[in-house]
């Protein structure tokens, strides 16, 4: 079980966080309050069904004006800035978490669970995946990820990380404005401010499990217009999803077969994402009955 909060341990590295990402468990110790505070932006405590096969320990220690980052005891970075050190740390965490599951295909997609299967919201950056995922979450849907899904042997799972909606998109998400002031904020790679949200923010369970993919939506931005869904051929969907995939780190070449099998087993829809309220309705309708227009 992941620990649910930062713990105060013996000096000098008196802040400790332990959390799981897929098959890897991470432990971070630091003596820096600034670092400990910033860990709130990224450390997640989703329940996961992967067996832990790798464990990595990080220590972040202040030394004069620098911060020293050690990975399993070996010094890997010395940084002056908290921001730069955290960027290095999170990059390493991501690398190590993927290294523990080298056979997995990575798909750029938000994901949720409906009737025991996973559904995916696939699309280019800025297609609206995160905003729609948050809107679905707020509407009561069981959303589990907003960015990445991993796939292997016919089963897919959300990559465990918080959802990072842009601050400006909160204007589109009624009901979230009230909780926004209490949410951690982080600057994204595009320089915009983002919030850190997850199902636990909404007092809901966050369970990430490997499941078959039942439905795939490919998001086409139609901002300012109406939201509608239309059926897609499997070959078109396979092409579109492939563009949003990263091959397994192991280099196995049959990953496209995994992808084709996933597409063949799913109901597939193109979703022109316009007004958000109707987008939620259309997604729900598709999951229940098939493609409709909203």
């Amino acid at each position: 079980m992941p620990r649910s909060a930062a713990e105060r341990g013996p000096d000098p590295l008196n802040y400790v966080e332990t959390f799981q990402i897929l098959a890897c468990e991470f432990r971070i110790e630091t003596d820096s309050e600034a670092i400990a505070d910033r860990l709130r932006y990224v450390v997640q405590h989703a329940s996961q069904d992967h067996e832990i096969t790798d464990r990595v320990a990080y220590q972040i220690a202040s030394q004069r004006n620098d911060l020293l980052l050690r990975e399993d005891g070996a010094l890997i970075a010395t940084e002056h800035s908290t921001k730069t050190l955290l960027e290095t740390l999170f990059k390493r965490i991501q690398e190590r978490s993927f290294a523990a599951v080298p056979e997995y295909v990575r798909i750029h997609a938000a994901s949720g669970v409906y009737a025991g299967s996973l559904f995916l919201l696939v699309g280019n950056p800025h297609a609206g995946k995160t905003t729609l995922a948050i809107a679905l979450l707020a509407s009561g849907m069981q959303m589990v990820g907003d960015e990445l899904v991993v796939l292997r042997n016919g089963l897919a799972a959300a990559y465990p990380r918080k959802f990072y909606p842009r601050e400006i998109s909160f204007d589109l998400l009624p009901g979230l404005k009230d909780i926004a002031p209490s949410l951690p904020r982080v600057y994204g790679a595009d320089g915009g401010r983002r919030m850190a949200v997850d199902p636990l923010t909404f007092n809901r369970p966050w369970q990430i499990a490997r499941l078959a993919v039942g439905t795939i939506f490919y998001l086409d931005p139609n901002f300012g217009g109406r939201t509608s869904a239309s059926p897609s051929s499997k070959v078109d969907m396979a092409r579109l999803v492939m563009e949003q995939c990263a091959p397994p780190r192991s280099g196995r070449s049959d990953w496209i077969g995994d992808l084709c099998a996933m597409v063949n087993g799913a109901s597939v829809h193109r979703l022109a994402v316009g007004e958000l309220g109707s987008a939620v309705t259309v997604v729900r309708d598709c999951l229940r009955t098939g493609p409709t227009s909203g």
Binding site: S233, K234, V235, A238, S253, D254, I256, C260, V263, N264
Partner: protein
């Protein structure tokens, strides 16, 4: 449903079905069966084998053709049989 008993006939000349769309990708082919709305991934070997299923070559000749194509030390008879069996079952050849 495909008749996979053809695989027992050395004189059988496998032929690619006509209603498929072939898309070349880095590691092989993605083949689309429009009628069934299904996509299949074929690795390089399966893709070449599908190309060789032109109705001109007998099943028994295909291992030798593959041996020459890949400069192999011996004809990959078992692999060809397994691959053709799968292509038949998926309805990509007849």
């Amino acid at each position: 449903m495909s008749n996979t008993s053809q695989i027992e006939n050395p004189a059988w000349r496998p032929t690619r079905v006509s209603d498929i769309e072939i898309n070349e990708v880095a590691d092989g082919y993605i083949v689309y069966q429009q009628a069934a709305d299904r996509v299949h991934y074929l690795n390089h070997t399966a893709a070449i084998l599908l190309e060789l299923c032109n109705g001109k070559s007998a099943f028994s000749e295909l291992p030798q053709l593959l041996r020459e194509a890949f400069d192999l030390s011996s004809p990959p008879a078992a692999e060809v049989r397994e691959c053709l069996d799968q292509l038949l079952r998926e309805g990509l050849i007849r």
